[in-house]
Amino acid sequence: MPRIGVYICHCGENIAGAVNVEEVRKYAEKLPGVVLARNYLFMCSDPGQELIKQDIKNGLIDRVVVAACTPRTHEPIFRKAVEDGGLNKYLLEMANIRDQDSWPHWQDKERATAKAKKLVASAVAKAAFLEPLEDRFVEVTRASLVVGGGVAGMFAALDLANMGYKVYLVEKSPSVGGNMAKLDKTFPTNDCSACILTPIMVQVGTHPNIELLTYSEVESVEGSVGNFKVKVRKKQTYIDWDKCTGCGDCVNACPAKVPNEFNEGMDNRKAIYIEFPQAVPKRAVVDIEHCLNCAKRIIGTQPRTHSKTGEPILAPCEKACKTGACDRSRAYNPEGEIVELNVGTIIVAAGYKVMDKAPFKEYSPQSPNVITAMQLERILSATGPTEGQLKRPSDGEKPKTIAFISCVGSRDKRYHTYCSKVCCMYMLKEARLIKEKYPHIDIYIFFIDVRTGGKDFEEYYNYCRDLGIKMLRGRVGAVDELPGDRLRVRAYDVDLGAPVELEADLVVLATAIEPAPDLEELGRKLGITCGSEGFMKELHTKLYPVETSVKGIYIAGCTQGPKDIPESVSQARAASSAAAVPLTLGKVIVEPLISEVNQRKCTGCGTCVQLCPYSAISLVEDKGRLRSKIDEALCAGCGVCAAACPSGVITLHGFTNAQIHAQIKALAC
């Protein structure tokens, strides 16, 4: 007969505030198999754990049930205590009477107590059937994958590479740099963004341990911590990057005009283009959708010959290319190329997207002089469409009055309920850069709350106000187009208690920070959930901010939520150190809570093979018959196969049929 010890945690007031712990303890004491039941203020504390250890050491118990908070954070702690006491650590069962009981039923103590009893009873019932299990160890592939080549991804990659590990850095654009490469200056120190970022980009491009895969996207991810198998699609560039030197001759020759993404659509690029002058790698890409196929030079066909000279008729880009990198006769595969990588850990730093102005009809988005802050950033940048000259889009005139509108799409239930966090600071920064250069330009910032929390940020705000930038509390209600390319901004000044209006030459919308496009899809490939706002969820907000629910996958930067550069870099470096731990250890513990097939009894129906989300099951021949076999390294212990097996010959260790049935039965009675 198993001798079960039950330990009920008060969790301070967290549990004891709603559950009558002593009543539950008395009830637990009488459950079958239970030899003792104790309660304690904080079971996870040292004295709390000591209770368990001593009872095991004194030979009183050989199974442990802890009724406390979430196993997600606390199961490892209690397993360790059980092990230290001298028992197999899998002889522990937890009942979550906090998240599943005291928290949701806070108002109804009686029923919360009744539910706690049920949860404890079901855990005790399962505990009676627990079996000792042994941990397994898996060798770790000492390489890492970083998804996203913005400032966060680059720092994560560099840190791991500097530790000596191989890093694959996958970036969907032709060049690394991300959104930061588009910025003019960066708060709170007003460093020139390019001046501090491009050396980092060069380091990433030249680091011997970093394999840069730009213009590439993650196709699929399989496996688990220590052994991820990743397929990456290198998109087709239609240029031989081994030969391309980034000279730009082809770009100059190309006649096609396409809105330039890097300049936020405010000027045109060519159909063959280099993303921006400081790109790393500096290589050309053909935007095949917009390519005009000059001289009927369709990719993969031979050139026509000139009727008189007999020379082949080439496209301007081909003709201009001195290295032969631009060869349109080559039959490029439009699907690109799939590269397979084996890595031990993955860091996701997929960045963000700035919201477009189009949805905000009340702010006259059709006016060329209503722009997003990112567009203003490009106007202010020396590499931008106006080479850093402050010109408004409609007529190239220098604006005399500029109005900034904050929280456009942020703190707005119709779009994004969250605060985008960086807008207050970037508006102040842009206003300051303009005001310092042109003191006579009138600048108004319409805000709801000024949020300048951060090291040196409040000082920045004070400085900006001292420059004479006018701050008005009150969300702008309307921006109307007036004759003469003027714009009328209408708001209510809360501080004055009066409606106000302003004629401005340029209106800048501080649009929201959004999750990167396709982030949810990337999350699905990786098995990471995105929150209601679309950003990837960390394992625990406070304690595990860079970890995800998938072991071995970490997140950094705006993938997790809006962040500024200092925060993104800090989190990236935190993620890289977390991702280095399995690589350094060389092996990871794999919980034995995985499925096993009784091959002797398997009928080989293949149901489990179809259902396994981890492709861990295959049919193998055994004595002339096909029988299913589970790859221990790939099994994640989800239990789908065990639940579906028509013959009932798959056992999920830690969740056997006997255990689950006992648990359900206890709940039902």
Binding site: T401, D442, Y444, V450, N462, R465, D466, G468, K470, M471, L472, R473, R490, D493, D495, L496, G497, A498, P499, V500, E501, L502, E503
Partner: protein, 190 residues
């Protein structure tokens, strides 16, 4: 733009006078830009309770936006009782009372001051007292006090000095009150 308009009409910020803030800073409101409109001063201000449209916080915001005419058309700035509670409670050391004073200086430059102020100033010049009633001597005598208080009124030399000082101030340039060197007067003429 009058105070009524501030209460009901739309304020056109484009017509704001952006030089007003600098003028205020020059005339004693040096810490103007420190104000972040937290409204702590307004919470302590008797003008708010008395229902004046422009009290410390709103005066400062109106200055930020350059609403010169709105402030001059309204009598609020003259209603401040100089209790200085705003200055004591201000967490940003803005010194709101000094800003109101500076705004009064702006107003005086533009002759936008109430008649009562002119009378007070004239009395100050003539007697050394902003308020000095004609019958004050009798009243004082009744309670056994000398007819004139031991101040400038009773001291022609001191009054001359005071008048000399006042003639050196901006008040003389403005010409709001006559400043003859007539010597000590018994009472103010008004």
């Amino acid at each position: 733009m009058s105070s009524d308009q501030v209460a009901t009409g739309v304020i056109n910020l484009s017509e704001g006078d952006s030089s007003l803030a600098n003028e205020i800073k020059e005339l004693g409101g040096e810490e103007l830009m420190e104000c972040i409109q937290c409204a702590k001063c307004a919470a302590a201000c008797p003008m708010v309770l008395a229902g004046f449209p422009f009290f410390n916080k709103r005066i400062i915001q109106a200055i930020f936006l350059g609403l010169r005419d709105a402030l001059l058309d309204d009598s609020s700035i003259w209603a401040c009782q100089s209790c200085n509670r705003c200055t004591e409670v201000c967490p940003r050391e803005v010194n709101p009372f000094e800003i109101i004073q500076a705004m009064r200086r702006v107003a005086i430059r533009e002759f936008a001051l109430p008649t009562l102020s002119i009378e007070g100033l004239k009395s100050l010049y003539d007697t050394g007292h902003a308020v000095y009633l004609a019958g004050a001597g009798n009243t004082r005598a009744k309670v056994g006090l000398p007819e004139k208080p031991p101040s400038t009124v009773a001291n022609p030399e001191a009054l001359k000095e005071l008048q000399a000082v006042i003639r050196k101030t901006a008040l003389a340039d403005l010409g709001i009150i006559p400043m003859d060197e007539s010597g000590v007067k018994e009472t103010c003429e008004v």
